[in-house]
């Protein structure tokens, strides 16, 4: 079975027919050629597949494509443009928040959600967001520094 869906992807309108059982992460990676979002476990634990749906960080491996009909989806590819990487991506580089880079796009999307909060997130909220991502390379301290820099600079 398949469905026709229409949604915003990194601010562009996409209209596409999808199999009912297609996961959002596969829609992005296989059909729409955006391979920045990664699959680390396919059951929602590792966080590598995290994207924003209607501004909120969600596991794209736990979302079926038909579910995002009418929604706004943002992925890591939408964070940078012709003018180069965004300030949060620059912060992550400067603070050594990545080594192999596999978990990075998911983390960036969680960070974007935090940067859009009206109030500056507390340290606890920052930790909470990072704890939703597994990283096997960095030992997390560079990631924490990156988040704090990105959120500090925002003010």
């Amino acid at each position: 079975m398949s469905k026709k869906i229409s949604f915003l992807l990194n601010k562009k309108v996409i209209e596409i027919k999808v199999a009912d059982q297609m996961l959002l992460v596969d829609l992005l990676r296989e059909e729409l050629h955006l391979t920045g979002t990664h699959v680390g476990c396919a059951y929602g634990v590792c966080g590598a597949c995290t994207v924003l749906i209607d501004g909120v960080a969600i596991r794209s491996c736990l979302t079926f494509a038909p579910q995002i009909d009418g929604a706004e989806v943002e992925t890591v590819e939408g964070l940078s443009g012709d003018e180069g990487p965004s300030p949060i991506q620059i912060a992550m580089s400067e603070c050594r928040g990545l080594q192999c880079g596999f978990c990075t796009p998911g983390l960036l999307m969680s960070l974007v959600e935090l940067t859009r909060r009206a109030d500056k997130p507390s340290d606890h909220e920052i930790d909470d967001a990072i704890e939703g991502h597994l990283c096997r390379c960095t030992g997390y301290t560079g990631i924490v520094d990156s988040f704090k820099k990105a959120l500090g600079d925002k003010l």
Binding site: A42, Y43, D128, G132
Partner: protein, 287 residues
């Protein structure tokens, strides 16, 4: 790890909902947040023929105060529950327990009702609604039925929900300022399932004596376990170390704990006493 094929429905009215559920019977699963269900489907542990998404039915959503009760719609996200102003002030224990579920990215999508309907023995919300003596409303094509939280959970991942029936909303009675709440869970690491946990609701008289204690344990048995202590057992005591010790001992002696990879049943028995004791010490009140 991709799911088997199924047909996706997103009904726009409850009539449409009942119609689809009728057609597929046991082969239909409700999709609310999907944070548990989709994982199981990706692993092919469950392979429903139909998935029915409640997203277009505001009937099941929302958080509101209705007179002396507070209503949480089944499809309210866990995130909305933990950040809702009414919940934070009136039912802080609910906000606290909800915040302990997984990680924020899961709670952004996972629903209050979904967690109840999924009935994982180690999840927090079933214990919350039992400790707070909530009322659940189940709806089907023939109408609504009310089930007390204490009657809702029947076994591991099983509830009284029948095929064609959907959890609609949960009602909390307005908490009094004379009730103190507590929450404590023991988990291996951030986001891990609890190896044992307790929600406590302690009603204290004007004189400072404990009138009753309700404690719901999660992660201990094959379903949440409720203990109710009234004045007969408690006598006339304040909520101090002696009373806490008495209560935790009773729980420890009576509980039938599971044995699993993480801890033995004896260790879980010991954990029951620890989580009860630490929950009772919390003393969280509504504002």
């Amino acid at each position: 790890m991709r799911p088997a094929p199924f047909e996706y429905f997103a009904p726009r009215s409850t009539d449409e909902l009942w119609s689809v559920l009728d057609k597929f019977g046991d082969e239909a699963k409700i999709l609310a947040g999907g944070q548990s269900l989709v994982a199981l489907m990706n692993l092919r542990f469950v392979t429903p023929e139909a998935l029915v998404d409640l997203k277009y039915l505001p009937h099941f959503s929302g958080i509101s105060r209705q007179g002396s009760t507070i209503r949480i719609g089944a499809t309210a996200t866990q995130r909305s529950v933990e950040t809702d102003e009414t919940i934070k002030h009136q039912l802080p224990i609910v906000a606290l327990a909800t915040r302990s579920i997984g990680h924020p990215q899961i709670r952004n999508r996972g629903t209050f009702g979904g967690s109840l309907a999924h009935a994982d023995p180690s999840s927090e919300l079933p214990a919350v609604v039992m400790a707070l003596d909530c009322t659940l409303v189940l709806e089907s094509k023939v109408g609504e039925r009310i089930v007390r939280a204490t009657d809702f959970f029947t076994g591991p991942y099983t509830t009284v929900l029948q095929a064609g029936e959907v959890l609609k909303e949960v009602f909390f009675s307005s908490p009094s300022s004379s009730t103190q709440y507590g929450f404590y869970e023991i988990a291996r690491c951030s986001g891990a399932f609890a190896m044992a946990g307790a929600i406590s609701a302690t009603r204290v008289s004007d004189g400072g004596f404990v009138e009753s204690i309700r404690i719901a344990l999660f992660g201990v048995g094959s379903k949440p376990i409720l203990f109710v202590f009234d004045k007969e057992i408690l006598g006339m005591q304040i909520l101090g170390p002696e009373l806490i010790s008495l209560v935790s001992q009773i729980v420890r002696d009576k509980v039938e704990p599971l044995h699993d990879m993480q801890v033995t049943s004896d260790q879980r028995r010991h954990y029951s006493a620890v989580v009860v004791s630490r929950a009772l010490q919390m003393g969280l009140v509504s504002q």
